[in-house]
C-alpha cells in the first residue's frame, strides 16, 4: 500500500537497507514491506496477508526477524533492515538456499524468502533443531504448495551439514 495521497503528511526516514543507507519521505502508515517493495524496489519480500499471519514478508530488523507488514517504515528510522536480497548477497544462507533447491522445498516460491529468513534465524539460535522444533519454528510461515515436509528436511539437512555431519 505505497504512496499516500498528495495531502498526506510525510516523515523523513533513513533506513539502512542491506547495508546501504536509504533516505525517503514516507507517510506514517507505510509498512516496511511496502517501503521495501515500492521505495527500495526490493521485490523479494512478498506480501501475502497484510495482517501478520502468513510470514511471506519476513525480514530482519536489527538482527531479529519481523513481519514487514506489521512494521511501519517510520519505526525503522536508523534501523538495519535485511531482506532476502541482502541475505543472498551476504552469502550466509547459500547452503540453506542450495538445500531448498536440492530437496525441492519450494514450488511456487512466493513464501520461500520468508521461510529462508525464518529458517536462518532458527539455525543461528539453535544449530541442532529436531524436526519438531523446525516445524514449530516455521509455523509462523504458511506454504500452500509443499505440505512443509520438504522445507523441514531442507532445514534439517542444512543444520546437519553445518555441524559437519554428512547428509
Amino acid at each position: 500500500m505505497s504512496g499516500g495521497n498528495a495531502m498526506e503528511k510525510t516523515y523523513p526516514v533513513t533506513v539502512i537497507v542491506n547495508g546501504t543507507p536509504m533516505t525517503a519521505l514516507v507517510p506514517a502508515r507505510l509498512t516496511l514491506a511496502d517501503f521495501l517493495r515500492n521505495e527500495a524496489e526490493l521485490t523479494g519480500t512478498h506480501v501475502g496477508c497484510e495482517h501478520g499471519v502468513c510470514g511471506a514478508c519476513t525480514v530482519r530488523v536489527d538482527g531479529r526477524t519481523v513481519r514487514g507488514c506489521l512494521t511501519l517504515a517510520v519505526q525503522c528510522d536508523g534501523a538495519e533492515v535485511e531482506t532476502i536480497e541482502g541475505a543472498t548477497e551476504d552469502g550466509r544462507i547459500k547452503d540453506l538456499q542450495d538445500a531448498f533447491i536440492e530437496r525441492n522445498a519450494l514450488q511456487c516460491g512466493f513464501c520461500t524468502p520468508g521461510f529462508l529468513m525464518a529458517a536462518d534465524e532458527l539455525l543461528n539460535d539453535n544449530p541442532s533443531p529436531t524436526r519438531e522444533e523446525i516445524r514449530e519454528h516455521l509455523s509462523g510461515n504458511y506454504c500452500r504448495c509443499t505440505g512443509y515436509q520438504a522445507i523441514v528436511e531442507a532445514v534439517e539437512m542444512t543444520a546437519a551439514r553445518r555441524r559437519g555431519e554428512a547428509q
Binding site: 500500500m1 536480497e85 514450488q107 516455521l138
Partner: protein, 793 residues
C-alpha cells in the same frame, strides 16, 4: 506393470526421464528474484481498488462517487454505466452439461448485487493506498433483499429466486440410473447409509490474484500481465468481451504464486481492469488483498450428499445410490461452469470398484454466497470420501478388514479397458498393486497391533484407507465439446541454437509444480543434449504455441508428449544435416550429450555447436538441396479415451484425544500410479502438497457464512490453513502403469493427493472411534464435532 516394449527415446543413454534433477527456475525464487505480477511497474501505471457490496443480496439504489473523485490522486471512479458500451456480459454455461443455466454477469454490479464482496464501483488512483481510501468514500445506497443461503432449501417454492429470468435457483441437474439399484438394495446382506457434508473452502494461494492490463490505443494491442494457469483462454475471453481483435491481445504470465485452480476463472474485478485500461489508455494494476481474496477467489465443494451402498454377504458392493446437492454462488463461473464438480462426483464415485448398479442425482443450486468453481481435485475429494466411507462401514458390519474388502471389490486387472456404470472409461488401473505396496510400506500389521495395545491404555489411534481414480490428460471432452475455447491440445517448439543448446517454447504453464523442469528433461533426452543446455520458455501468448495451459493434471501428460515429439523430430533433422556434413548416413549417427557421435561406437564426430555454426552462418558450404530445419513444433491431443485416469491408494494414521476432541495426524502414506514418472522428486512433492491441501479442509479449513450470507472468517487469522507443526510426514511410493495413449506414457499427478486425503482422514478418525459406535461424516472434523459425536458436549 507395463507390458509394452522398451521405448527407445525414454531408454536412451543419458536419458533424464525418471531422474530427479534440480528445477532450473528454482534459484531465482530462493534469491527473491522471481517475477510476480505485483513486482512489476509500468510507466503511467495506475492502481485499482474496488468498492464492494457489504450485502449478500440487494438492489443498488444509487452510487454517489463525488467525494471519492474529489480525493487528490483519484483519477476516476468507474461504475457499470461507464463500461456498458465497451464490453459485453458473460454467461457460465457449457453445451454438453445438458440444461445448465446461469445469468448474465457483468464486471461491476448492474443494478443488483448477489454476494457479499461483489464489486460495485472501481476506483482508479495513482497509488493503491489512495484507491483504497477513495473506495471507502464511494457512497452506495442499497435496498436489501432476502438472501438465499441454505442449499437444502434453495429449491423450495417459498425460497426467493435469485435471478427471476431463470425461473428457479437450479443451475444444473444430472441423473444416472444404471442396472437395477432397487433390486440390489432389496437383496442386500447389509446396507451402509450416511449423509455426508463437504465444507465450503478455498484455495488461499500465497500470492493473491494479480493482473496488470495495458491497452495501447495507438496499435489497439491489449497486453495482460497476469497470474494465470491458462494464458490462451484469457486471451480469448478478454478479446471477446472487450470487442478486440484476438490477435492483438497478448497474455504474459511469469511467476505465479500458487494457483491450484484459483487463477483459471473469469473474475469480475480482473475483467473490470481490462475494461478500464481500454477506457483510460494507460496500464491498470489490480492486486487483490487477502480480505478480497476470501470473498472473491472461487470457493470449492459445499456439498451435502445422502448416500447408501448395498453389500452381499461376501462383502461385495452390489449397488450405490446417492443424492448430491451442492451450493454454488449466484452465478455459474465462466467459462468452465460451476456444474463440473457435481458432474465429476457423478462420474467418479465408487470408481475403483466393479459394481454395476448405480444411481445418482446431483443438483447444483444458486446461493447468495461467493461463487464456487473448480479447485484442485474438482469433485474427487467428495466422490472418494463417499464411497470409501461407505465401504469401510460395510467392512465393519461384515467383519472384513478394510484392505480385504477393497481387494474383493476392485475392478479385476483383466477387465480393462473398463466402462464404469457412470460412463467413465478406464484404460488400465493398478488398484491391487497400489494397495499391496501401501500395506507393505506402512507396516499395516504392526500398526494394527500397536493400535490394539494402545487402546488398552485409553489411547485412540485409527487407520484410514482410500483407493481412488483421478481424471488427468483431458481430451476435448472436458470443455471443447461444450463450446468453450479452452484448448485440450498443446504444443511445443524446440530450436537448436547456434551454441548447440536448445530452447523449448511450450504452451503449458508453470505455477511451481515443475512444468519447465520436466519439459527440459524430456526435450534434453529426446534431442540428446545436457539439461544445462536447455532453456524453457512458457507463459507468453505471443511466443508459445497455442495451448490450454496447466489444469486438470494435463501439463506432463499433454505438454510433455508434445515436447517429446518435437524433440524427436528435431533430432532427426539435426542428424540429416550432420550426415551431410560428415558424409555419413543419418542412421549411422546419434546425438549424445550435445555432440554428434557414431551410433555404433559412440565416437564423437562433431559437437552440436559446430553443426549450429555451419547451419546458421555457413549455409554456403552445404549442398544446394540441403536446407537445415532446426526448429520443430509438435502438438499433442489425447485421443482414444476422454480422460486418462490415474489411480492411487492412501492411508492416514491419526490419534484422537477423546477428552479434547483433537485429531493428531501421525503419518500418511500414498502409493500413486501416474504412469511414466518423469521426475520422482517432483511427483512426490506434488503428492505431498496435494495431500496437505486435502487434509486442511478435512480438519480446519471452512468458509463460514452466516444466514445473512456474510462470510464470518474471511481473513488469514480466522480461516485456518495447515501449518508446519500440525502436518505429518508423508511417505510416497510409485507404481508405474504408463498410458498407451502417448509415447511418453505419463499421466497427471497434481491433484490425486487432494482427492484422497479428506476421505482417508475421515476413515482414520472413524476407525479410531470405532468402539464408540459413532460415525463422523461432517467436514471439517473440528474438536467440537468430535466431542459432539462422542456425546461429551
Amino acid at each position: 506393470m507395463s507390458d509394452r516394449p522398451g521405448i527407445s527415446v525414454l531408454d536412451r543413454p543419458n536419458s533424464y526421464i525418471g531422474r530427479t534433477v534440480e528445477r532450473p527456475n528454482a534459484r531465482r525464487l530462493v534469491q527473491g528474484r522471481g517475477a510476480f505480477v505485483d513486482d512489476m511497474k509500468l510507466p503511467r501505471m495506475v492502481h485499482l481498488a474496488f468498492c464492494r457490496s457489504p450485502y449478500a443480496h440487494a438492489e443498488v439504489v444509487s452510487i454517489d462517487k463525488a467525494e471519492a473523485e474529489a480525493l487528490p490522486g483519484v483519477i476516476r471512479v468507474v461504475t457499470m454505466e461507464d463500461l456498458k458500451d465497451i464490453m459485453t456480459p458473460w454467461v457460465g454455461v457449457l453445451d454438453h452439461l445438458k440444461g445448465i443455466k446461469s445469468a448474465e454477469q457483468w464486471p461491476l454490479a448492474n443494478g443488483k448485487v448477489h454476494w457479499q464482496g461483489e464489486p460495485v464501483a472501481a476506483v482508479v488512483a495513482t497509488s493503491r493506498a489512495i484507491a483504497e481510501d477513495a473506495a471507502d468514500l464511494v457512497m452506495v445506497e442499497y435496498n436489501e433483499l432476502p438472501p438465499v443461503t441454505d442449499m437444502m432449501t434453495a429449491l423450495d417454492p417459498e425460497t426467493p429466486v435469485i435471478h427471476k429470468e431463470l425461473g428457479d435457483n437450479l443451475c444444473f441437474e444430472r441423473n444416472v440410473d444404471e442396472g437395477d439399484v432397487d433390486k440390489a438394495f432389496a437383496e442386500a446382506a447389509f446396507v451402509a447409509e450416511e449423509t455426508m457434508r463437504f465444507n465450503r473452502h478455498t484455495g488461499v494461494t500465497m500470492e493473491p490474484r494479480a493482473i496488470i492490463c495495458d491497452y495501447n490505443p495507438a496499435d489497439e494491442v491489449l497486453t495482460l500481465h497476469m497470474a494465470v494457469q491458462c494464458p490462451h483462454m484469457s486471451k480469448n475471453l478478454y478479446a471477446k468481451h472487450l470487442g478486440l481483435d484476438e490477435n492483438k491481445v497478448r497474455v504474459i504470465c511469469k511467476d505465479v504464486g500458487g494457483s491450484f485452480g484459483i487463477k483459471i476463472h473469469t473474475y469480475s474485478d480482473e475483467m473490470a481492469a481490462g475494461a478500464i485500461t481500454v477506457l483510460l489508455g494507460r496500464p491498470v494494476k489490480f492486486v487483490a488483498d487477502r480480505l478480497e481474496s476470501f470473498v472473491t477467489d472461487i470457493h470449492a465443494r459445499d456439498h451435502v450428499v445422502k448416500a447408501r451402498m448395498a453389500f452381499n454377504a461376501e462383502g461385495e458392493i452390489t449397488a450405490l445410490d446417492m443424492d448430491d446437492v451442492t451450493g454454488i454462488g449466484p452465478y455459474s463461473v465462466y467459462p468452465r461452469t460451476s456444474g463440473i464438480e457435481a458432474n465429476q462426483v457423478v462420474n467418479l464415485t465408487g470408481g475403483p470398484y466393479k459394481h454395476r448398479n448405480y444411481r445418482c442425482r446431483a443438483r447444483v443450486v444458486f446461493l447468495n454466497k461467493n461463487v464456487m468453481c473448480q479447485y484442485r481435485g474438482v469433485g474427487h475429494p467428495i466422490a472418494v470420501a463417499i464411497a470409501e466411507h461407505l465401504i469401510d462401514r460395510g467392512a465393519v458390519a461384515l467383519g472384513l478388514d478394510p484392505v480385504e474388502i477393497r481387494h474383493r471389490n476392485f475392478i479385476p486387472d483383466d477387465a480393462y479397458p473398463y466402462t464404469a456404470p457412470s460412463g467413465a472409461i478406464y484404460e488400465r488401473q493398478s488398484h491391487h498393486q497400489c494397495l499391496d505396496k501401501l500395506v507393505e510400506m506402512m507396516d499395516y500389521k504392526g500398526l494394527r497391533a500397536e493400535q490394539a495395545a494402545l487402546r488398552e491404555k485409553g489411547i485412540y489411534r485409527g487407520i484410514g484407507f482410500v483407493s481412488l481414480v483421478e481424471v488427468t490428460n483431458p481430451s476435448p471432452a472436458f470443455y471443447g465439446v461444450g463450446g468453450a475455447r479452452i484448448a485440450s491440445q498443446d504444443g511445443c517448439t524446440i530450436r537448436l541454437d547456434p551454441t548447440g543448446g536448445i530452447t523449448c517454447i511450450t504452451g503449458v504453464t508453470e505455477q511451481g509444480q515443475g512444468t519447465e523442469t520436466i519439459v527440459a528433461q524430456i526435450a534434453a533426452s529426446a534431442v540428446g543434449v545436457s539439461m544445462d543446455n536447455v532453456r524453457v520458455i512458457t507463459g507468453d501468448t505471443d511466443v508459445v504455441p497455442y495451448g490450454g495451459g496447466t489444469w486438470a493434471s494435463r501439463g506432463a501428460g499433454i505438454g510433455g508428449e508434445a515436447a517429446l515429439q518435437a524433440g524427436k523430430e528435431l533430432r532427426k533433422n539435426i542428424l540429416k544435416v550432420a550426415a551431410t556434413i560428415l558424409q555419413s548416413d543419418p542412421e549411422a549417427l546419434d546425438i549424445r550429450d550435445g555432440a554428434i557421435i557414431d551410433a555404433d561406437t559412440g565416437t564423437e564426430r562433431m559437437p552440436l555447436s559446430e553443426l549450429g555454426r555451419i547451419a546458421y552462418f555457413r549455409g554456403d558450404t552445404l549442398p544446394h538441396d540441403v536446407q537445415p530445419e532446426l526448429v520443430v513444433t509438435r502438438h499433442f491431443v489425447s485421443r482414444g479415451f476422454p480422460f486418462v485416469f490415474t489411480n492411487a491408494a492412501h492411508a492416514c494414521h491419526v490419534e484422537v484425544d477423546i477428552e479434547t476432541g483433537m485429531v493428531k495426524l501421525l503419518k500418511y502414506w500414498v502409493v500413486e500410479d501416474c504412469g511414466t514418472v518423469i521426475n520422482p522428486l517432483l511427483v512426490e512433492e506434488q503428492t505431498r502438497g496435494g495431500v496437505v491441501q486435502g487434509l486442511g479442509p478435512a480438519l480446519f479449513e471452512e468458509c463460514l457464512y452466516s444466514d445473512e450470507g456474510q462470510l464470518q472468517n474471511g481473513s488469514m487469522a480466522d480461516y485456518l490453513v495447515p501449518m508446519a507443526a500440525e502436518m505429518p510426514d508423508i511417505v510416497v511410493g510409485h507404481v508405474e502403469t504408463p498410458t498407451a495413449t502417448s509415447e511418453l506414457g505419463a499421466k497427471g499427478v497434481g491433484e490425486a493427493g487432494t482427492a484422497g486425503a479428506p476421505g482417508a482422514v475421515m476413515n482414520a478418525i472413524n476407525d479410531a472411534l470405532g468402539s464408540f459406535n459413532v460415525s463422523l461424516a461432517d467436514m471439517p472434523f473440528t474438536p467440537e464435532k468430535v466431542l459432539r459425536a462422542l456425546g461429551k458436549v
